[in-house]
């Protein structure tokens, strides 16, 4: 009797019953404004440079930078702190460099933490972003963030090696597979990609338009790894895996860098691989690395590609100086001088030209990467939901990477992977269908 009462007592214990949508965002009511007040910007260590550059260009503006764990994968610091500030009613930063999981909570609810920017930022500026770039910022028709950069995937390859081996650069996934199998026979040890990184699904399965997680509502997702668009990629990868043409170690692993980095013939991956991975990480000599258009499936009429990263800025709906906050976020994402020197491909269309010119001027690449990257930028398949509370990267790393490195095939693990995503999503209150 008592036990039964204890279990069923009074109120519901479940804070997020599966699929229950949060209240739709009401009209945005800004806090009382004080145009002279100082703005606080929360950034990760890398982005402190943005605040410094802004301060230099605008000596009169009062701006304070606070470094926090920021975009670090899986960091929940912003959410935790904002929940705390919501309780105390003060302390919110004005501008934030969030991680992509933060989109899931900061853009939903009756009063989202992120301010809707449609009326705060000039339409002409919003229209200047690369097609699709603001899609992940857009919830219920309102834009909640400004994209900082894009990480569209292309096919990176070592031109020197390709020429030396006498290979043609593939344009379809099928050709890439065939070439990979040839490489395994003719030049064993050389790699045409790697599947051992948390971000590997963003390259292969996103590029294949596989419904690993598609948001169909605030708290409803579709997860279907038996979809033909998923199995086609698994079947493509498996022969390459067993032939040894795909790496199963993480591409940043010390062992990989030491033993395999110099043997990369091709590597599908994001725009930032050129400088950050090949140049800074692997020290591949200049004049060897080139970029080709993202691979497509022969049966597809259009090319779609994935992305590995790409940051954004939130402006707090609690900001007391929205004008200064908006000016900062707009400047760091659109200013031609600043964005040209940035580390990653600017999401703001007009800024990309200057960035690519600077990249090319570095003299690092073996071909002109400009047209390839520009062509790929609007081809990121926007249905892939990165903005879920759970991170695809964490799930892939914990379930698929150990299995693949122990010699199992991708196809044999698709069900395990599916279950892991469904479990994680359900545990965080998503309804999976």
């Amino acid at each position: 009797m008592t036990a039964a009462w204890l279990i069923t007592a009074c109120a519901n214990a479940d804070p997020n019953r599966a699929g229950a949508p949060r209240a739709a965002a009401g009209p945005f009511r800004p806090a009382p404004q004080d145009p002279a007040s100082e703005i606080t910007v929360w950034v990760d260590a890398t982005r402190t440079a943005a605040v410094d550059a802004y301060r230099k260009a605008h000596p009169g503006v009062k701006i304070k930078a606070v470094t926090y764990s920021g975009g670090a994968n899986g960091s929940t610091e912003l959410r935790t702190k904002v929940e705390l500030f919501d309780r105390t009613g003060e302390g919110w930063p004005d501008v934030v460099w969030p991680n992509v999981q933060d989109l899931a909570w900061a853009t939903t609810g009756a009063t989202p933490f992120a301010a809707p920017l449609d009326t705060l930022v000039d339409r002409s500026v919003l229209d200047g972003y690369v097609k699709g770039a603001l899609d992940q910022c857009t919830v219920g028709g309102k834009v909640y963030c400004l994209r900082n950069d894009l990480a569209q995937n292309v096919l990176w390859y070592n031109k020197k090696l390709m020429d030396q081996f006498g290979y043609q650069v593939p344009t379809t996934w099928e050709q890439w597979q065939q070439l990979g199998l040839r490489v395994a026979k003719e030049h064993p040890g050389y790699l045409v990609g790697e599947v051992g990184s948390p971000t590997s699904p963003h390259v292969y399965f996103w590029g294949s338009q596989c419904p690993v997680s598609l948001l169909t509502g605030d708290k409803t997702v579709t997860v279907d790894l038996q979809d033909p668009k998923c199995t086609r990629m698994a079947r493509l990868l498996d022969p390459l895996l067993s032939a040894g043409a795909l790496g199963t170690r993480n591409k940043w692993d010390t062992g990989f860098i030491k033993e395999q980095a110099a043997k990369i013939l091709m590597m599908p991956g994001p725009a930032w691989y050129g400088q950050a991975l090949f140049n800074a990480g692997y020290h591949t000599p200049r004049g060897e690395i080139a970029a080709a258009a993202p691979l497509k499936f022969a049966a597809d009429t259009e090319t779609w590609t994935g992305a590995v990263g790409g940051g954004m800025w939130f402006i707090s709906s609690h900001s007391r100086n929205l004008k200064a906050a908006v000016d900062f976020a707009t400047w760091v994402t659109t200013d031609p001088g600043y964005t040209a020197a940035a580390a990653t491909y600017p999401a703001y269309g007009p800024a990309a030209t200057g960035w690519l010119a600077a990249q090319q001027a570095s003299g690092y690449y073996a071909n002109d990467i400009g047209p390839v990257l520009q062509q790929a930028a609007p081809r990121i398949w926007t249905k892939w939901a990165v903005s879920t509370l759970y991170s695809q990267e964490a799930i892939y790393a914990a379930t698929m990477v150990p299995a693949l490195s122990s010699g199992k095939s991708v196809s044999s693990q698709m069900d395990v992977w599916q279950q892991a995503i469904v479990n994680k999503a359900t545990a965080l209150g998503y309804k999976v269908n």
């Binding site: 009462w5 204890l6 279990i7 069923t8 007592a9 009074c10 109120a11 519901n12 214990a13 479940d14 804070p15 997020n16 994968n73 899986g74 929940t76 959410r79 935790t80 929940e83 909570w105 051992g196 990184s197 948390p198 199963t248 170690r249 993480n250 940043w252 692993d253 010390t254 062992g255 990989f256 030491k258 033993e259 509370l389 759970y390 990267e393 964490a394 790393a397 914990a398 990477v401 150990p402 490195s405 122990s406 479990n423 545990a427 965080l428 209150g429």
Partner: protein, 305 residues
Amino acid sequence: MVATGTPQARAAAPGRRRVRSGRVGYLFVAGYTILLLLFGVVPVAYALWLSVTNSSGQLVGLGNFTRVFADYRFGSAFAHIGLYLTLWLISLMVLVVTLALMLHGRLKRTSAAVRFICYLPGAFAGASSVLIWLILLDPVASPVGPVLRAVGWHSAAQVVAPENLPVIFTIIAFWTGAGSWIVIMYGALNGIPDEVIEAARIDGAGALQIALRIQVPMLRKWIAYMLILAFAGGAQLFVEPQLVGTASFGQVPDDWSPNQLSYQYAFVAADFNGAAAIAVVLLVLSLGCAAVAVFKAGLFERGHS
């Protein structure tokens, strides 16, 4: 410090105790009691309250518990920690006692130096000692790389494969934690009166018999004390899986141990009530095991140790 609570000290105490009895004693105890209340009892009470309420502060009975029990991660997290605790407590008990006995007996001449060496790894702060292990476990960067490769591990990913984790965490925990226990056990062995050992020797007992029949039984309370603390600490395993997970680019699931799962509840799902329920489960388990150890070893009995 703990090792000084030996019979000699106790024998000398009564005389002094009479002089300083009364208020000074309360003063010393008060410092501890206040801290215990603030950072021990109050948080536990708060966790208990959170575990039976929901986010709106309504009473939900055992709702949070049934919810976390049904969580698909709950069973695996406790299975992981159960296996780890078994390995860790057995190795701690057997190896620490053996090493302390050896240091106390055969290796007496070099014992001070060896004790210091044993203790040394424990002097690293928890997280930094795990960082050292991250390097040691990578066959490419590790000074013991050839050994790892001989076992058939060629990459860090293979070393931290799921089935190896309990053993790896045991080794890390032993390396960081066992040294100080060896020192404590050594001190406790010093507390065993020489006459007892002498008498046993005259009766014809060898080193092994002295160890098994005299020393280990007389260390019983110390071993129980070690097990209680090691169990409580081990059940709360967090830093090791979290750091190894980060360093292996996420290969260790972020809900490997119950404490990590609790963290996931609190800071990823923003569900403090569920997190509190897991914390209460850990508390009950630790208290239960501590109670068994206390009564089995007679830890609170007065009289001879």
